[in-house]
Symmetry: C2
Subunit: 615 residues, 2 copies
């Protein structure tokens, strides 16, 4: 399109943004209006995208990092013929695909859910990495960011990652409209302030008047021709551009225009321009993903193996069989054992350094391109990425997250390194799967099973060695459990997982010597839980004693309740969990101090028997 047409298209996008927000009675038209010209030029002259085939591998990718400007995105979809005007006006209605913030659950042209700021660019880095290092096609990744969100540290993790990987297929367009939600940003219209930061992190930058369509067109062209580094187009814009009542004014964030009809008139009235978006190039399949049988490692009963070691070995083996499996790590792969994968499959390993938000975001981006990512760090440090996990769930992204060094069992390093809230965090994520194996064979089976699940899947591994409890041919369905001790005389059921399984077994043996029989369940699938087995145990023994290396809230003890929430009788419940702030001590001392070792479990059961709480 030429300048005149582009300007007209920008006005149409503004008008349609105003109309959508007016119809909804809410939304962010002013944040849409600042970026309308930026979007018009991109859509008409640079984006290569087949809206009829959103899965086309040659399609460019566009991510609206400032997700609240969704009216602009939907107006662009309309201009491209992807949705009609009637649908545009369903914005924010119950059942509409056009949500307040865009999500790929509803719209096929949305790469990732946005709306939590500072996440679009980090995910885009993952998408661009897939293009550059794995797919090796020449699709381009465009991200439209707000200026306010550059205050999020995650943006600078992404900036660092993108420059380090020389992602010249990535362009960030920054809509510097100088106004955040509450008021002016730190840097206002000082484009140089942002340019200095991006340049320092290794990016090419272009500063431009974001309402000069020719200048914007040239800036995008410069981005496309820049090699070896990503480009940030820093565009000076005005929030609410084009309507005097709202243009560049404070206090109007996230509000429909006061008089939509007047505003539309001022913008020149409705238009019905239709953009013929460039077709994606015919892609050559440079990279064929190999798949074959997966031969998982095997261990014999009696060996002592850390589940983190089993994770690394299993992941490497999974990578042998499945060419679509990739791994990421937060600069601790020697601890998480992701290094076993990295050594065998360096081309599919992504070192994310100490930037857990970026690691999870990159995994989401890779997953959006069809790769099956496993991202690992210490369980404790995955809390750093909680908001990214939450948004990945909103996206419906399929990512595997692996937290090592869980619980007080790590020993001397102390509480800062202990994952004691990870089960709570991952259980509360919508549609998540939470797995916590106790031995090497179980770990290997679950690592392989995770790849085939939907949504967020979390695996919790342990630092220290533990006995191999199961034979290598045992199977561990997700949603299952293993009954390790059972008799008709069981007076209580011990429910354990991970490091507390050997403790529960030892306690059961000690109690047995005292004539007290107990059932032991290995609840390796923390979410979903094995309802049938737990209900049977409740019926048979009347009391469940849960033992977990985790804070008492949100973990295993709460998880067993999922079997009893429909109004049926609930068994008696006793919970052994970490209730005090640990210090440094040996692993065995830690388990004892927390009251979750074999001795503590046996003492608790004995007390319950003495108090006649159990039968």
């Amino acid at each position: 399109m030429n300048s005149g047409e582009l300007t007209e298209l920008g006005q149409q996008l503004r008008v349609d943004s105003v109309r959508a927000a007016a119809a909804a009675g809410s939304g962010h038209p002013t944040s849409s209006m600042s970026a309308a010209d930026l979007m018009a030029v991109l859509l008409a002259n640079h984006l290569r995208y087949d809206f009829d085939r959103p899965a086309h591998p040659g399609n460019d990718r566009f991510i609206l990092s400032k997700g609240h400007a969704s009216p602009l995105l939907y107006a662009a979809f309309k201009a491209a013929g992807a949705i009609d005007d009637e649908e545009l006006l369903t914005f924010r209605e119950l059942g509409s695909r056009l949500e307040g913030h865009p999500t790929p659950r509803r719209l096929p042209w949305v790469e990732t859910a946005t709306g939590s700021l500072g996440q679009g660019l980090p995910v885009a880095v993952g998408v661009a990495l897939a293009g550059k290092r794995l797919d090796r096609d020449d699709h381009r990744v465009w991200v439209l960011c707000g200026d306010s969100e550059l205050a999020e540290g995650s943006v600078w993790e992404a900036a660092e990652h993108a420059a380090h990987e020389h992602l010249d297929n990535l362009t960030a367009i920054i809509d510097v409209n100088r106004l955040g939600q509450r008021g002016p940003t730190r840097h206002g219209h000082d484009l140089d302030a942002y340019a200095r930061r991006f340049q320092a992190f290794g990016w090419h930058t272009v500063e431009v008047d974001g309402h000069d369509v020719d200048a914007v067109d040239r800036a995008y062209g410069e981005a496309l021709s820049t090699k070896g580094q990503p480009t940030a187009v820093l565009a000076r814009t005005l929030k609410g551009k084009g309507v005097e009542a709202v243009e560049d004014r404070e206090g109007l964030h996230g509000k429909p225009l006061p008089d939509a009809d007047e505003a539309i008139a001022e913008l020149g009235g409705p238009r019905d321009l239709r953009v013929e978006v460039h077709e994606p190039p015919t892609t050559r399949m440079l990279h064929a993903v190999r798949t074959g049988p997966v031969e998982l490692p095997r261990w014999e009963r009696g060996e002592e193996v850390a589940t983190r070691d089993a994770y690394g070995r299993a992941l490497a083996a999974l990578g042998d069989g499945r060419g679509d499996v990739v791994a990421l790590d937060g600069e601790v792969s020697d601890s998480t054992r992701a290094e076993f994968f990295a050594k065998e499959h360096p081309e599919r390993f992504f070192e994310c350094y100490i930037a857990e938000q970026q690691m999870v975001a990159a995994a989401v981006g890779l997953a959006s391109r069809g790769w099956v990512p496993y991202a690992s760090s210490f369980a404790a440090f995955l809390t750093r990425a909680h908001d990214f996990v939450r948004m990945a769930s909103v996206s419906g992204a399929g990512v595997n997250l692996v937290g090592s060094h869980a619980g007080v069992a790590i020993g001397q390093d102390g509480p800062s390194q202990m994952g004691l809230e990870d089960l709570a965090m991952f259980r509360a994520v919508h549609d998540s799967t939470v797995l916590y194996p106790c031995d090497a064979n179980q770990t290997a089976q679950l690592v392989a099973a995770m790849a085939g699940l939907d949504g967020i899947r979390y695996l919790r591994t342990s630092r220290g060695k533990s006995p191999v409890v199961y034979g290598p041919d045992e199977r561990f369905p997700v949603g299952g459990s293993k009954v390790l001790r059972s008799s008709a005389e069981d007076r209580v059921t011990l429910v354990a997982a991970g490091v507390t399984v050997p403790e529960a077994l030892a306690a059961a043996d000690a109690l047995d010597r005292d004539g007290i029989r107990v059932r032991v369940i290995d609840l390796y699938s923390v979410k979903p839980v094995d309802r049938a087995t737990l209900r049977q145990a409740a019926e048979d023994t009347g009391c469940l004693l849960t033992v977990e290396d985790h804070h008492q809230e949100g973990g295993l003890g709460d998880a067993v309740l999922d079997a009893f929430l429909d109004g049926r009788p609930v068994p008696r419940l006793v919970r052994l969990a970490v209730r005090t702030m640990p210090g440094s001590a040996s692993p065995a001392e830690q388990l004892h101090a927390a009251g979750i070792d074999a001795e503590s479990i046996a003492a608790s059961v004995t007390l319950l028997v003495e108090q006649a709480v159990v039968r």
Copy 2:
């Protein structure tokens, strides 16, 4: 001290680091050795600190952001005479104050717990802010950072915050030893790469050989004389400096030296230098904290008020009465209503822009100086700061966190903006308090009560208006609840909090018309819960039906279990919670779609009656 003495002191710190780690059989001597000269010069020539009076307001503050280098810190404490050699060798033992990573719970000279990287500088910004804007004394804040941790975005949030606030009382010392845990960092010994980044963010930088004590001494002097901006001292160092077997070598992170005796000999053997640390200056009390009676706002029954509005009003009133209350917000104070405080007490309000990690870190820093911070954002976005909340808990920091716009009740904005996992996140934090008021008077009372609690306190507020249920003189003790409907014929107990309280009351009224009496409990204190009232309800009605605007895991439904975890009989349980991924819709439509509105509650109870699940 002169050069020769400083060099000797550096060697002593190395030797003692090696000895401590050797005694423990674990720890990070090599990471301590790189920074030993940096620490020696600081301790001997620049730090002003009275180790006998750690609470002295004139003390400088030192934060070891690279907390794994704790042997160095403890070696410095020994050199300063704060601990003796015997205690040094208790490093990492059960019960020792000298934990794997330092925490203020055990050691009075530690400002904040570290060990999760990228947190020391953010917290230091809060400490420096307190000095600059509140205490207005001239104490200096020194932070020793690793180079690896500069990959964390939180460091750049802190860099931005510090420069924007012109914190020239803050010096970051970066120990650029080029080796992370797994291997080389992105930038190796390229000090310029770091300098460019810090300069772009508005810092003064000094590059220096970190083993040249005179150069380091001059660099600190330059930092002290730099006005109007913080300084980063970028020091080129060698990991494991001084012992050839480990110096500048990979694969030796977090491991005691292979031959400690030989290493100690190579370092010139043990020394027993004692540093006379400079006394802090006599402080003039420039800022007297005013305290007086707190007159909370009052609302009458029948008014419609959003609890976020009540939060803002109550916080402003609390600020009138208590001069030690400060507020922080993540650029959404017009939504959280922290703006009411900001308008009345601008000198005690801290705009943190969209950087939730930095907001929480700054709150922790302010709290360490005796201030009582309230930090607010959308509940959903507090997940961004999960790791900072976790570490604040390890510190034992007293901070108030307030999450607005909780749950599906926000309506059209959609799932990215809905806090649906915040209760789970905050419940799982050690020693936390979790409060979720349903009306304005209750909110005001709880906002005031929070100030007097220990640890992490979380308040959940709602976007929409809701009826004032309680009179302005009602009291709401933390750990309490309110029984809003009760009779001898109650067949089930509805347990609600926040937005589901009015729904539960409406359901109770509707059921009453059908001849079904139900008890209604307002469980505004989600942690700790009111065990007595819940147990009484269980005894009286036999069944608890929880209703919450939160995912089904980790929230209210799990919280009620805390009353029944000692083996006593557990009532039947039914849980109404958000089980599907919401889209956009009106608040009423959202509550209905999630099955947590009055109609859904009444229908559930009717079903339980029909199925004879309840009496």
